[in-house]
């Protein structure tokens, strides 16, 4: 397996450092990470909890605020409703009581003297205080009306408040209802005979006609609208007739504040006195003036002699509601219709008989005595127009309270005409009418809330429990009182509180958010500090640990590395190098052992070196010796052969020539011997060097043969070359030595063969090239076949010349062939010739 560790970990030092780091740094980092993780978790949890807590607190406060506000509103609304309902029923009861008092009046009148004086006396005794606002005028800006003299009563206190009473001591100023004015109750008192002729008639004020008339004719009655005479005839003694509210209708030019700019807009002259009175909207307008007539039979001596009538000034009735305010003010000298806080009275037919705007009180046309058309919605108005009938005839056939709802629209034509009397039966765009009747038609009272004229209004209604005459037909009695109140005003305190609470909550919310972000920031900061401290100290500790690891590893490995350095130096040849073995531990022992080994190695090296030097010396000496021998032997041979040669060319006598030839041949022989001895010696000494040549076998063997052709043919021998067909072209070997081998074999063959033939052949034999020399010589005895290759075996016959002497030829052949990686062998039978075969390896020999 390959070592896959990084390079620096290969050494003990690296491994030690790595182990140190692993043991120390990893837990350190893990610890730091764990601490950081926990701190972060804690931070997150605290942040979350804090945020949740803040949110919850805020939510709680908001919820409490909301609940308190809602409860307060509800409580206040209920309280206000109760108060206003009470106010309404009280007003209705007061009206009823007042009306019943008028029943008593009429009965008393019937018993009085039938004389003008008595009537005057009677009337003078019946007066009542009415409150009227003082003169008003158009404000300088002409956009509002204002009192000429503003009245404001102060809550006066001249004594100290006792501590026991100090809590919520609430003092109101005297109630200001207006300027008191003592006013006669009745505007007219008459005595009518049985034919309808007015016999006695006392009037007060100028509302009614002073002249005596026959009232059986409607045209002679108040605003030609009264038809009471017909009713009177059916009255039994003691029975009382009470009429509807009858008065001339007062029209208006517009609805709302009667101020110049609004009239200008509709193109009418500013004449407030001619238009209907409307409280603060038109305090100088024409007032609705009406009457309610009481009548009862006058009985004298058991006979009905006529009828006495009393006409109640309608102002006394409306006084019950005109001063009322369903607000903290309680009373007002002048009604402010715009604010929506005011009281109304409706008669038993649900017609408006008291209203802040006089043009909304139903009335009669004094010309015809018929009711002026009340305010209709667009649909009913269109129907009426389509019917072509007078309105009183048309409306007589229309069911009352028909599909009343807020989505209906008032007829604009009537606004333009200024006839806006409110007859609830046909006021179909005001569903309150239906609601009021639902509350009062069985004599009850109550309230509901309705969004009307852009305001949420509480509207109450209470039946007026007055049941005389025609008013006794239904439990509703005389009619009903309604009070409208602006709902928001009831719970103003609560909404103010709510606003305060909302402001507080908003403040708290901001505070909480600031606190929360402060807290989160604090936690974040603390976490950052923790992180810096934690990781900083971790990194510092890691660095320290690594330094310590390196230092300790160095300490531990310094001796090993110094030992390694020493061993390496020794290995690299510094054999004198020894290790410090002074330490008494294992390392010291190791060093000591090494030193001992080094000593012996050094010693061995020394001996080896000496031996090598000796051997080299010997080899050098041997080489020098061989070279010298060769040189020295060749030098004299040069003279011998040289001059023998010269003699051969110069001598004439055949005998002398023969001598010279012998000298030459002997010299040649000696030279050969010398060469062979030297070659053998050289091989022995290991001095022989072999070359590697690409030898072209065919040409090479042909040349080798050619050298011996002449000498062979001179002896009458045939000499030939037998090359196998599959012989390779080249053989890699030492050409010189191969030539020497073949020459030796061939010259032996020529030398020993007396007759016959000599063959030089070659063939492929697997990994070898076999080169052979076959002769037809005397052959070699089997026991001699090995001997002939041994050197110097023939030395004993060296000078016998029995065989011409081969000297050391075959021994040299064997040595050469062996050194060239080959083999040489001989096959022979005595007398059968001999075949010498040399196997040369095809594969080149390494040196």
């Amino acid at each position: 397996m390959k070592n896959r560790l990084p390079k620096f970990l290969h050494g003990i030092r690296g491994k030690l450092i790595a182990i140190f780091v692993l043991i120390k740094v990893v837990p350190l980092v893990l610890l730091a990470w764990f601490a950081w993780y926990t701190a972060q978790g804690l931070g997150d949890a605290v942040s979350q909890k804090a945020a949740d807590m803040a949110d919850t607190s805020l939510q709680t406060i908001q919820d409490i605020g909301k609940t308190v506000t809602e409860d307060s509103i509800k409580a206040l609304d209920e309280r206000s409703r109760d108060a206003i309902e009470t106010l309404t029923t009280d007003a209705a009861r007061n009206i009823a009581r007042f009306l019943y008092a008028r029943d008593a009046d009429i009965l008393q009148a019937a018993d009085s003297d039938l004389s003008e004086a008595a009537f005057r006396r009677f009337l003078a005794q019946r007066k009542r205080t009415l409150y009227r606002h003082g003169p008003w005028r158009l404000a300088p800006d002409t956009k509002t009306w204002e009192p000429v003299e503003a009245v404001s009563l102060e809550a006066k206190r001249t004594r100290p408040i006792l501590p026991d009473n100090a809590r919520d001591f609430h003092l109101r100023p005297p109630e200001y209802l207006g300027e008191p004015e003592v006013t006669p109750l009745f505007v007219e008192m008459t005595y009518i005979d049985l034919a309808g002729n007015e016999k006695i008639k006392i009037t007060q004020g100028d509302l009614t006609d002073k002249a005596l008339k026959n009232v059986s004719d409607r045209r002679n009655t108040f605003v030609r609208a009264e038809n009471y005479f017909a009713e009177l005839k059916s009255l039994k003694p003691g029975e009382i007739y009470v009429s509807d509210v009858i008065g001339a209708y007062v029209r208006t030019d517009l609805i709302g504040p009667y101020i110049p700019e609004r009239l200008e807009k509709i193109g009418l002259p500013f004449s407030p006195e001619k238009a209907a009175y409307a409280g603060t909207e038109n305090p100088v307008g024409k007032r609705f003036r009406g009457i309610v007539r009481w009548a009862t039979p006058v009985v004298r001596n058991g006979q009905v002699t006529g009828y006495v009538t009393l006409a109640l000034d309608h102002d006394h009735i409306r006084q019950f509601t005109d001063r009322l305010m369903p607000t903290a003010e309680r009373y007002t000298p002048i009604i402010d219709a715009i604010k929506g806080n005011y009281a109304f009275i409706w008669d038993h037919k649900s017609r408006s008989i008291s209203h802040p705007r006089d043009y909304m009180i139903v009335g009669y046309d004094p010309e015809t005595g018929h009711p002026v058309t009340p305010w209709l919605d667009t649909e009913l108005y269109a129907e009426w127009q389509a019917s072509g009938k007078p309105s009183h005839e048309f409306l007589a056939d229309i069911p009352p309270f028909r599909d009343q709802r807020l989505t209906r629209k008032p007829a604009p034509e009537q606004i333009k005409a200024g006839t806006l009397g409110l007859d609830c039966r046909y006021l179909n765009f005001s569903p309150q009418c239906d609601g009021w009747n639902a509350l009062t038609e069985h004599g009850g009272s109550g309230s509901f809330v309705i969004f009307f004229s852009g305001l949420w209004k509480l509207t109450t209604a209470a039946a007026i429990p007055y049941y005389t005459g025609q008013y006794g037909k239904t439990p509703q009695g005389f009619g009903f009182v309604t009070i409208g109140a602006n709902v928001d005003d009831f719970h103003k305190a609560a909404t103010d509180t709510a606003e305060k609470i909302n402001t507080l909550v908003g403040e708290k919310d901001r505070q909480f958010k600031a606190q929360r972000s402060d807290l989160l920031e604090g936690i974040e900061q603390s976490l950052t500090t923790t992180a810096i401290g934690l990781w900083g100290s971790t990194v510092a500790m890691v660095v320290v640990v690594i330094f310590i690891a390196i230092w300790m590893a160095n300490l531990l490995t310094a001796r090993i590395t110094s030992m390694i350095d020493g061993i390496r130096a020794f290995r690299d040849g510094d054999l004198r190098r020894r290790l410090d073995d002074s330490a008494k531990d294992e390392m010291g022992e190791l060093a000591h052992s090494f030193n001992a080994m080094a000593d012996s190695v050094e010693e061995s090296f020394k001996r080896l070196e000496e031996a090598r030097e000796k051997a080299e010396q010997a080899s050098r000496a041997k080489s020098a010796f061989l070279a010298t021998v060769s040189h020295e032997l060749r030098t004299p041979l040069n003279g011998i052969l040289g001059f023998a040669d010269l003699l051969r060319s110069d001598l004439q006598s055949p005998e002398h020539l023969e001598y010279a030839k012998i000298i030459h041949q002997s010299g040649e022989h000696l030279l050969t011997l010398v060469s062979e001895i030297l070659d053998l010696a050289k091989i022995e000494a290991g001095e022989m060097q072999f070359q590697q040549n690409e030898v072209p076998l065919h040409g090479f063997l042909e040349n080798a043969l050619a050298v011996h052709r002449s000498s062979a043919e001179a002896k009458g021998l045939t000499i030939s070359l037998h090359l196998a067909a599959d012989l390779p072209d080249y053989l890699k070997t030492d050409a010189t030595r191969l030539r020497q081998i073949i020459n030796n074999l061939l010259s032996n063959a020529v030398k020993f063969t007396q007759q016959g033939s000599i063959v030089l052949g070659a063939r492929d034999e697997k990994e070898w090239i076999a080169i052979y020399v076959r002769d037809t010589g005397p052959g070699i005895a089997r026991e001699d076949q090995e001997v002939i290759f041994e050197k110097f075996k023939q030395l004993e016959n060296f000078l016998t010349r029995e065989h011409g002497g081969t000297g050391l030829g075959l021994a040299l052949v064997r040595q050469l062939v062996t050194h060239m990686g080959g083999q040489v062998s001989v096959e022979s039978e005595p007398g059968q010739g001999a075949t010498f075969t040399v196997l040369m390896p095809k594969k080149a020999q390494d040196e």
């Binding site: 070279a627 060769s630 060749r634 030098t635 003279g639 060097q689 010189t736």
Partner: protein
């Protein structure tokens, strides 16, 4: 004349005599020197075309003499042949390396000499 002028350098008179005889037979005019120093002196006075130079001589060796001759005859046509009994192949290679044109191994062989010392 100088075109066939040969110098035989050998401390051994016999060797000089054989070489001189054979070269004369081949048509060379010859001078002899028994040392390297003598050879250089002769070479300064004559314009040799061929030098047979022994290697093992007292005084200047054959190799040194060859190198000096090459310097003396820089740019001139001269054949310097080692005339030596040093017959081992490695010795032969070293002679060729120091500037000898060819080697004539002792004992001398007429055919070999004739091949090496053909008169141009």
């Amino acid at each position: 004349m100088s075109e066939h002028l040969a110098l035989i350098v050998d401390d051994h008179p016999t060797n000089r005599l054989i070489a001189t005889t054979l070269l004369r037979k081949m048509g060379w005019q010859t001078h002899e020197a028994d040392s390297g120093e003598a050879a250089l002196e002769l070479a300064a006075r004559h314009d040799f075309r061929l030098v047979l130079l022994d290697i093992s001589m007292p005084g200047l060796s054959g190799e040194e003499t060859c190198e000096r001759l090459r310097q003396q005859y820089a740019g001139r046509n001269i054949r310097i042949i080692a005339y030596t009994a040093h017959a081992f192949p490695e010795e032969r290679a070293s002679f060729l390396a120091v500037g000898f044109d060819d080697i004539l191994v002792k004992p001398i062989n007429r055919e070999q000499l004739q091949a090496l010392a053909q008169i141009p």
